[in-house]
Symmetry: C2
Subunit: 478 residues, 2 copies
């Protein structure tokens, strides 16, 4: 304990309050380094121990943390003054999905408009993904493969890449072998193949609610019915509700994003994943698991995939490199368990082969050892961006706003005051040059009229001003 007189005591509280205020107004943002102890001591003409005392106080308030041999940083998980949304409570009956028109109107046109401040579509940050490094690998494999690089690569696809994916599966609790994996044209194709493998048109699929619209559209295109299951904003799908749904409906498959649901950012705790798999195994219902955000966790360890608890080959694990490395390469994969033969064959009959050079380029990138250092960097960036945007939402949105606390990925799910119609907000924000995604798109049964999804991937001063503008619009609409 450092001893000091009351004048000094006043001073350290003042310093702490000042920094607290600067964090509150966003002058210091989550992840920012605050002035060093020595610098602050000079600036405020106080002793080193007084500054340290101020910083300890800020630590105790949960606002900053010390990084050994580096300094003090604003925490990315600032204590929220906004509550989380409640667990969802969607309609308990299966519904024919019908979001096509809305999605066509909203999400797809936005992506074609380069001048918008893009808080809508869930793209990764284009200046963060290692496009140049990957393209160098692409050029390199193009040279070394010669004529072979020009030919069809039939399912299951590039063995080197399947080998790399198999190795990484260890971190997510599995020990996949390369011959359990089929390379696809992205996670969308993976999900599509899985749904086609286990469902007929008219069948019912149990899904988390809310769920991102591309999955809903896919179900619509395949003529499937959605059975939306209550989902907790941090722990994911409710197992009690799921069991009830299975008892009262004929369900052909269950689809979840176990790590970092889009839009919730929820993560099904690993032990709950085990229970989820056990429950579905009891009913012999396949689980289609989307793990596309799995590598973008905020904590210290990679969460497991539900596949890790699969004893009977009932879990079909889907993923891709589109959120981490390169959406443009169109390379994903699927581990279809007992449905391997069917999924591989459906891949073959749907799009014949995988993009040869892209597969090999990613395999080379991964084999070169650059993937993990890159992921470490990128996780921290997205964590800061999500924290920064959360902070801005707290500052600028009305008090009644509720906000998720994602444990990975880069999107936020925001519950606005009940009177705010997200489609109206969407239209107004678009006029102001800001793209958001209205909540209507995340349910087959219009559960979320006053919700929006915000993508924090491109967080910036411009994005912060956009959130401020949104806040003003919402206040006017409320």
């Amino acid at each position: 304990m450092v001893c000091m007189g009351s004048a000094e005591a006043y001073k350290y509280e003042q310093i702490a309050d000042d920094i607290d205020h600067l964090i509150e107004v966003g002058a210091f943002k989550p992840g920012d380094q605050i002035p060093s102890v020595r610098e602050m001591s000079r600036q405020r003409d106080v002793s080193i121990s007084t500054v340290l005392q101020a910083y300890y106080l800020l630590e105790a308030r949960g606002l900053i943390l010390a990084r050994p041999r580096s300094g003090f940083y604003v925490r990315t998980d600032l204590p929220s003054s906004l509550p989380e949304p409640e667990i969802s409570s969607p309609t308990p009956d299966p519904t024919q999905v019908s979001v096509r028109e809305l999605v066509s109107m909203v999400a797809r046109t936005d992506t074609l408009e380069p001048d918008l401040v893009q808080l809508g579509v869930a793209h990764p940050n284009p200046s963060i993904v290692p496009t140049q490094d990957l393209n160098r690998c692409l050029a390199s494999v193009a040279r070394t493969m010669g004529d072979a690089g020009g030919m069809y690569d039939y399912p299951p696809g590039c063995e080197e890449l399947r080998m790399q994916i198999a190795r990484r599966s260890l971190a997510s609790g599995c020990s996949l072998s390369p011959n359990e994996i089929v390379i696809t044209s992205g996670c969308s194709e993976s999900l599509n193949l899985c749904l086609r493998a286990v469902c007929e048109p008219g069948d019912v699929v149990a899904i988390e609610s809310p769920l991102y619209f591309d999955a809903l559209q896919m179900m619509e295109a395949l003529g499937l019915q959605a059975l939306e299951i209550p989902t907790h904003p941090r722990d994911g799908i409710s197992l009690d509700a799921l069991r009830f749904a299975l008892d009262h409906n004929e369900v052909s498959a269950c689809l979840v994003i176990s790590n970092f649901n889009n839009p919730l950012g929820s993560r099904i705790p690993d032990n709950k994943k085990r229970k989820l798999v056990r429950l579905l195994t009891e009913y012999q219902i396949p689980l289609i698991e989307n793990d596309i955000f799995g590598e973008l966790y905020f904590g210290d360890t990679r969460p497991a995939v539900a596949k890790a608890y699969d004893r009977e080959g009932l879990v079909m694990l889907c993923s891709s490199f589109s959120k981490t490395l390169c959406p443009a390469y169109r390379v994903g994969w699927v581990v279809p368990g007992r449905y391997y033969e069917t999924v591989e064959w459906l891949k073959y009959t749907s799009s014949l082969a995988a993009p040869t050079l892209s597969e090999h380029a990613i395999a080379e990138f991964m084999a070169g050892g650059a993937y993990d250092p890159y992921l470490r960097r990128v996780r921290r960036i997205y964590e800061r961006h999500v924290a920064g945007m959360s902070h801005a939402v707290r500052r600028f949105f009305p008090e009644e706003t509720k906000l998720t606390r994602p444990s990975g990925g880069f999107v936020l799910w925001v519950e606005l005051p009940e009177s705010v119609d997200s489609l109206e907000l969407y239209k107004r924000s678009l006029e102001a040059g800001i793209a958001i995604t209205p909540g209507y798109l995340f349910s087959a049964t219009n559960q979320y009229p006053n919700f929006i999804r915000l993508n924090a991937a491109n967080w910036s001063d411009e994005a912060e001003r956009a959130v401020e503008r949104l806040g003003q619009m919402i206040t006017r609409l409320a």
Copy 2:
């Protein structure tokens, strides 16, 4: 008329017969240049006019042709001593397609075996496709596009490429606009999207018979029934038979390869294409047209596509660059006519986006002006290869063999003596290190047990020896 005595007359007939024999035994192959008039005159110690007389005789026999300022060449369309197969006469009832097991057993394993003499799968010749040039374009667009080259390219896909495709449509009788075109992951995906757009599981699709197995498998995977229509080995689908079929069945779509059916090499004459479209329009049935081989014609002019005669948007034109430029790039396209919205949406919900860099690389390659010179070269090569293989089949296969006379593409369809089982032949040829495709794979109703498809794309001395070996096996099996 050149006058000469009987000794000289004998000499010119002798020279003609000698060269005739050398062509017959394959010493001079289709497309080869024969010795110049001057050289032959010196070799045989006869007058120039005698040699000319000999060459005129060979021309009259249909064996050689003169190319102005170049010399005399062995014709690539040598008069066949083998008749063509008859028009096919498949079962007149729709049939649930079921070729999966056979295809898995046969075609897919072969492609993984690099040491086989590959006369089976219909791949283009890997040493002919301009892989290196394209890869240079790929590296170039990767550099110039920067971050944008790393992002999703949503349907309809790369505008520059759609522009290039639209321009080329002129040569095939159309005037497509770029916004009628959707970029896909290859022709297989195009066909898949079209079938899904206009058919439900259980629906009947009228198809040419025989038809390559990937199309049949695709129908099987979508739960569609095939109605096989008699098809002429040179003129394609029989319109009388098609009309009869439409009168007696509820047909949801018709699928043809109007230019160079795989495996027949047939081309529906342009006027017949017009009638085909008129017939289907009368019944309001969509035509799914596969034009993947359309650029690989042997004559002087690009045959039209059926789409050129489409007045009501009922023709859905599918193609790709996989047979001409690069199978590995997975870039195709579809012109879905009145089904545009549905097809574009199905593309979006099936695989989300197109491979960005690959699309742009092909667009750059085409814009650079290299495509047409390349195609001119490649058409002549494949014409020679098909002629060479036809010639070898005539020499080495039993007399009762029947053989197609393709007017484009690079495959031959061979009818063997009735007693020869193509699956048995397939097994024996595989033991001898030769891959062929047995006829069983080209029908949903086992129409072609004694047929095989041969791919001439990789024609070589080694391939010729393989055809000789095949001939011996067939003779033993007959």
